[in-house]
């Protein structure tokens, strides 16, 4: 019994907690370009000091938060009607629609982002279509802009928004909406006074599931954003692989973790509360 309970904790300890501690230790070391690995362990806060003094890192932080926040909002505005529509269709057709939402996961994430590169590039499919149709005579380049990053994040994380929203909307008792109508609420008023407040746990869950990974996202800004977009995940990658400054990259990672602990805690409490309500 104790072994069965202990095993997952042992697993988490070795493969999650230990690496975290390693990252923390490296972040407190100093950069030593000539040694392998390029770090000299110690108790220096030089890397952290650099993070807070160099404007580049702060700018990357802020732009990450901004891009993640707007993408989350767009995903919410797109995902809510989707989830609502799925929850309103006949029960026997819902599994098919839900499968369509999850279907993109069957292909590798990386391949799908590369596909977007092809679509968005100059002379890519979208560009060609716009020119051919004559809708826009000279469409600007989308690839390599923040537009493309937003598009990529919304595309990649939309299912994480739709699924928790669907879960709360599907549980919504129809008779509550009938009661609202019976008491004089027009459909729109019934939506804002009954449906929306009762789906709040789903909204919170969906937003955090999109926002948290989007803040640290690095593949999408790297492939779709080009050099123009500054995001903290990309900065981390560059520090680590391009500059080889392990302590600085680790310091970025530690700060990223600390910053996201807040939203993750909100998410956990939200989940726990809706679980309690159900019982």
């Amino acid at each position: 019994m104790r072994f069965v309970i202990g095993l997952p904790f042992l697993w988490l300890g070795i493969f999650f907690l230990l690496p975290c501690l390693l990252v923390l230790a490296i972040s407190l070391g100093t950069y030593a370009p000539d040694s392998v690995p390029p770090v000299e362990l110690g108790l220096s806060i030089k890397s952290f000091a650099l993070l807070f003094s160099d404007g580049l890192y702060l700018a990357a932080w802020l732009s990450s938060l901004r891009i993640a926040a707007t993408s989350t909002l767009v995903a919410l505005l797109l995902g809510y009607p989707m989830a609502y529509a799925i929850a309103r269709t006949a029960p026997n057709r819902r599994p098919l629609l839900l499968m369509l939402v999850v279907l993109p996961f069957w292909t590798s994430f990386l391949i799908r982002i590369y596909a977007w590169m092809g679509l968005l590039a100059d002379n890519g499919l979208i560009d060609q279509f716009l020119r051919w149709s004559g809708l826009v005579s000279n469409p600007g380049t989308i690839l390599g802009t923040e537009w493309a990053v937003h598009l990529g994040i919304v595309y990649a994380y939309l299912p994480f928004m739709v699924l928790p929203l669907y879960a709360t909307l599907e549980k919504l008792d129809d008779s509550l909406l009938e009661a609202a109508a019976d008491l004089g609420a027009k459909p729109l008023a019934a939506f804002f006074t009954v449906t929306l407040p009762l789906s709040l746990p789903g909204i919170v869950a969906g937003c955090l599931l999109v926002f948290i990974p989007a803040v640290g996202e690095f593949v999408i800004p790297d492939l779709l954003g080009g050099t123009e977009t500054l995001m903290i995940g990309k900065v981390l990658w560059d520090e680590f692989f391009t500059n080889g400054d392990w302590p600085l990259a680790s310091a970025v990672a530690v700060c990223l973790l600390v910053l996201l602990v807040g939203p993750i805690a909100i998410f956990q409490r939200n989940q726990a509360r809706s679980l309690e309500k159900r019982t």
């Binding site: 109508a181 019976d182 008491l183 004089g184 609420a185 009954v194």
Partner: protein, 332 residues
């Protein structure tokens, strides 16, 4: 004010695919009535009620409320409120907000809302629970919140979908009287759907017995019980011995209209039988009596004396007797 019936229904029909849930129903309900739609599950009573509320659109026929054609009017524009079987209280609002919801939708001023909500909560004895959430209330309290929420807008017609079904037996009886009191005090028209004939009989001023989407009989509880028009109604309301008449056709004979005795009684109709089953119910005893003439018949006796339990034992030979006018001749 219009003095005609508050509800007039003409040939109302609602189909769900191949099923005709409500089949060409005509019905008039007068002002101030407590009208019950009574029937088993799937008889169409709930669909009829939902058409009155506006949740179902009739396929055929017209529906008038207070003289105005409401057939195609959406629920939020009808002068009608409904108390749902599940109560459908808004879980994210407290009692006062639930009750005041309809008034807020109508744009009533906040001060007046507060006043009217307080007034109606006092009427249902919940004045001290205004700040509670529905999840913090007992079943009986929730039922009264639902009732208050439906009453606060002073609807021309209050619809009640199985209003007592979710309450336990003891609470149900007290609530029955309470609802009749409210209905008389407020002078409103109530239309109630129920599958419980005892509930319909004890509360309603008139009732409609429904079967397979049609109304089998409309009348006062007394008329429907003592003068059922069909075998279905006789059998559905209370217990009836349905026996063949001499000249053909059928007759319904209630268990309490039959005299049960050991000696042959001096009544126009007498038959001999043997008791096969006894059910002692406290206030009365029910006997199943095997007879040659009419098969197994149900007879009841009132237990007015405290001395003995059931007066007759299983297996005992007995006589049954009744007068000619004790039974109701059935048309169908």
């Amino acid at each position: 004010m219009n003095s005609g019936p508050i509800v007039r229904i003409e040939g109302l029909t609602r189909r769900f695919g191949p099923i005709v849930a409500v089949d060409r129903v005509d019905l008039e309900i007068a002002r101030g009535e407590l009208f019950a739609l009574l029937g088993g599950s799937g008889c169409g009573k709930t669909t009829l009620l939902r058409m009155l509320a506006g949740f179902e659109t009739p396929d055929e026929g017209r529906l008038f409320i207070d003289g105005q054609d409401m057939t195609d009017v959406p629920p939020y524009r009808r002068p009608v409120n409904m108390m749902f079987q599940s109560y459908a209280l808004f879980p994210h609002m407290d009692v006062a907000a639930n009750v005041g919801y309809g008034l807020r939708r109508d744009g009533v001023k906040a001060a007046e809302i507060a006043e009217r909500v307080a007034e109606i909560l006092t009427l249902v004895h919940l004045q001290d629970h205004a700040k509670r959430k529905p999840s913090q209330l007992s079943g009986g309290q929730r039922q009264r919140v639902a009732l208050a929420r439906a009453l606060v807008k002073r609807p021309k017609l209050l619809l009640l979908d199985e209003p007592l079904a979710a309450l336990d037996r003891k609470l149900r009886e007290g609530t029955r009287f309470e609802m009749v009191r409210l209905q008389e005090q407020l002078g409103l028209t109530f239309v109630m759907v129920t599958h419980d004939q005892e509930e319909a009989m004890s509360m309603a001023t008139r009732l409609a017995v429904m079967n397979a989407g049609r109304i089998a009989q409309i009348g006062t509880p007394h008329e429907v019980y003592e003068h059922p028009v069909s075998r279905f109604v006789a059998d559905f309301i209370g217990i009836a011995n349905i026996i063949a008449r001499d000249g053909g056709g059928w007759m319904a004979l209630r268990p309490e209209k039959i005299a049960l005795s050991a000696e042959r009684p001096g009544l126009p109709r007498t038959i001999a039988g043997r008791i096969v089953d006894v059910a002692y119910e406290g206030d009365r005893s029910l006997y199943h009596v095997e007879t040659d003439a009419h098969g197994t018949m149900t007879v009841s006796t009132t237990n007015t004396s405290r001395s003995a339990g059931a007066a007759f034992a299983r297996g005992q030979p007995v006589w049954l007797g009744w007068a000619d006018e004790s039974g109701q001749r059935l048309e169908a």
